[in-house]
Amino acid sequence: MNFENQGVIKRLADQYGPENLTVVLGNGEANGVEVFAETVTEGDPSYAGPLAGVALKIPVYHVLEEEVISEVPDQLRAEKLQLSSLVIDIEPMHQVLETSRLKL
């Protein structure tokens, strides 16, 4: 996650409290999802960004996970997410993110 977005998330966590936040991703590939999740739960693994050493413990989901997509109204889901759900392999990301959420 780039440093600018890490800074925004840190500011939002200060403003609202990290326990009141959830992150939803839209990654096209599983590569990198684990780093995203680690950054907002345990802190920036590169120890270079604003979230270095900051364990916010914010739960992370992918928009195509059943827990999220099932809540989107049918018509919007068909219009905006159906095509993505055909080309994006969500299962590896679901496994990584569910493991991350279970550790919180």
Partner: protein, 41 residues
Amino acid sequence: MQRGKKIIVIGERDGVPGPVIAECLEAAGYEVVFQVTECFV
């Protein structure tokens, strides 16, 4: 996904872009407080 939480959306240009995720979640009744689209090229 737990109700009542404020949502931070981090979309991806080659996946699902931020504005699309935000639109879908707001229609589902969630409050999106930040959305962005990252690009890894």
